[in-house]
């Protein structure tokens, strides 16, 4: 028996095995991280998710109900790894800095902190999520804009799809945001 998770890709609902979901999440994060500019990410990522949904639908063929690890691997071989998809634009040189990624969204700006109390503090470029509490945590979501940080929301664990285990194990957040991005916290 395997655990499955319900996900949505551009409005299409799929049941997916846990291991497959993890790989899919890593893949989408890998693609998301490759966009030098946020507006490109907001425009292209939904198109890629739509194609992923089509590929899954084709592979399930109305006969199966659950997306497996094999389906995700097959999808990746069709769409390509993030490093195969994105090539520098003409005139761009990663060493020249002429069109370097926005520092607000670049990979190097991502930092992960561990909260010694009970959880993990994840620092993202535009949002901070703080997990608090030792049982079922609350999520405090902070928005950072123009150098200021303000609390945007507090969510109980039940409000979003998340998996919470002990601090020595993997914690997975699955908030499906507007652009389908989700954050895997480890």
């Amino acid at each position: 028996m395997k655990k499955t998770i319900k996900i949505s890709l551009q409005g299409m609902v799929f049941f997916i095995d846990e291991d497959a979901d993890l790989l899919l999440g890593e893949y989408l994060s890998g693609i998301s991280d490759r966009f030098p500019r946020q507006e490109e990410r907001e425009e292209i990522l939904p198109d890629i998710e739509t194609r992923i949904a089509e590929i899954f639908t084709d592979r399930l063929g109305g006969k199966r109900q659950v997306v497996t690890l094999e389906d995700v691997k097959a999808m990746i071989s069709l769409l390509g790894r993030p490093e195969d998809i994105f090539e520098p634009e003409e005139g761009e040189d990663s060493s020249s800095g002429t069109a370097s990624p926005d520092p607000q969204t670049s990979r190097s700006s991502r930092r992960l902190f561990r909260d010694p109390g009970s959880g993990v503090l994840l620092s993202r470029p535009e949002l901070d999520i703080v997990l608090t509490g030792s049982g079922k945590p609350e999520l405090e979501i902070y928005k950072r804009a123009r150098g200021n940080t303000r609390q945007a929301a507090v969510r109980h664990a039940e409000d979003i799809d998340m998996q919470w285990e002990t601090r020595d194990k993997v914690i997975i957040l699955r908030p499906w945001y507007r652009f389908g991005k989700r954050w895997h916290v480890q």
């Binding site: 739509t50 194609r51 949904a53 069709l78 769409l79 998809i85």
Partner: protein, 110 residues
């Protein structure tokens, strides 16, 4: 030097031209374009298409409209703008000149 590298560079160079050529015949959505590009074996991984479409759209060569689909989410149907048609025309010319130039060099008798 590996042949695969040279092939990849050639393919990359003409991929944008091929995308515009496909769209010039009919407005189409990404999967239609992918089907043609894959049949012609000009594209290796599907994901390459999406950044290129966006780049061409942002350059004013393409526009798109949304159409509902019974099989999934709404689809973006791309078509060439007037600027895109002119650009494609100039690429057609450049392509002919390139082929002529290569043929001339390759067929030159010793």
């Amino acid at each position: 030097m590996k042949t695969e590298n040279a092939q990849a560079q050639m393919r990359k160079g003409v991929l944008e031209y091929c995308i515009l050529s496909v769209i010039s015949r009919n407005s189409c959505y990404a999967s239609d374009i992918l089907k043609e590009l894959k049949e012609a074996r000009i594209i290796v991984v599907e994901g390459t298409l999406y950044p290129l479409l966006t780049r061409q759209k942002n350059a004013g060569l393409l526009s798109y409209r949304w159409e509902e689909s019974t099989q999934g989410p709404p689809r973006k149907y791309y078509e060439l703008t007037e600027a895109g048609k002119e650009y494609l025309h100039s690429l057609d010319q450049a392509w002919k000149e390139l082929i002529d130039a290569v043929e001339q060099i390759r067929n030159k008798k010793k």
